[in-house]
Symmetry: C2
Subunit: 166 residues, 2 copies
DNA sequence: TACTACTTTCAAAAGGTTTTGAAAATACAA
DNA sequence: TTGTATTTTCAAAACCTTTTGAAAGTAGTA
């Protein structure tokens, strides 16, 4: 397979994956492009490579920087900004977990805590409390697992993963 | 907090969470409603409770059945169908993993395998192959971990999870 | 068979998200 | 300062997904 074809496939594929993971398709494509680029790219180069507008490029590059998946790089003598991707895959995963934990898991735990105060004075209320407690337990377990993972270094994570599959 | 208010909050919250996890909002709300219902519900009861149309209800109930998160139940003497949710949280997680692994992880691994055959005859090609190999390794690790998890029984999963958080 | 309760389909409408691109803002150079 | 390259903003347009509801289909009942 030719390099260019392979690169395009990779960008497409990463975009599709991203769109299922709370990262919009273009955002994931920009990340993919930067991941496989040996050199930092300017906004203009990203726009040209992916055929997207300046607004779109600007917005998604900034989102990637917010997530900690992309860094701004200034070249001496150049007025324009260049961008590089976080290339360490474990770090990428960590950054995504941090965002999603904050945006999804934590709000749900908050609601579960609130609603578990309901009084158990009817069969429906009993069923409700049982289900909510069960989910709450799992959510808290997931939360502390992810928290540990985020705070841990790579080796611990790799080790745990390997342990899991035996 | 009143039971009804708590139930509504739970359904809302579960819907929001679902929509970030490849399950559409209504589908997640139907699942939430069935989860906290002590009795099987008919399509009509689901439509009334969530204020959704028959088409919408039908479509999402079927999707939930496809995912293995909801089961059809026939009551003797009743013409209409009733539905119950899978209430075991670990089983719910397993079912979701099965679907997402199939729909997302496996296609990506396929592409990664294809494109890693590119020849390393330039700095760009080298960078490309390095990144792809790295991701491929991670993806395969994740795949076998999830596969093990899906095939395992609850206890093993709970145990591993607890081990992870120490 | 015809009736009725219930379920399913699907084209059109609604709703939500993403993208565009012109205009405004910014920042450096002369 | 003025000019120019670059970045940012944002309202409108395009696009994509979900929902509706009427009509068709199905299956039990009489």
């Amino acid at each position: 397979m030719q390099l260019q074809e392979a690169q395009e496939k990779f960008i497409q594929s990463w975009g599709t994956l991203g769109s299922h993971w709370g990262i919009n398709r273009t955002m994931a494509q920009v990340h993919a492009l930067l991941l496989i680029s040996a050199e930092p790219l300017s906004a203009q180069e990203i726009m040209d490579a992916l055929k997207i507008s300046s607004g779109n490029a600007n917005m998604n590059i900034r989102a990637l920087i917010d997530w900690g998946l992309v860094f701004k790089e200034l070249k001496p003598g150049e007025r324009k900004e260049f961008f590089v991707a976080e290339k360490d895959m474990w770090e990428v995963i960590r950054k995504i977990i941090i965002q999603r934990k904050k945006k999804e898991l934590e709000p749900v735990i908050k609601v579960l805590n609130e609603i578990s105060t309901v009084e158990e004075n009817s069969p429906e209320a009993e069923e409700f409390v049982r289900v909510v407690q069960d989910i709450r337990l799992f959510a808290q377990k997931a939360d502390s697992t992810l928290e540990g993972l985020v705070k841990s270094d790579q080796k611990w994570f790799v080790g745990t993963f390997l342990n899991m599959i035996k």
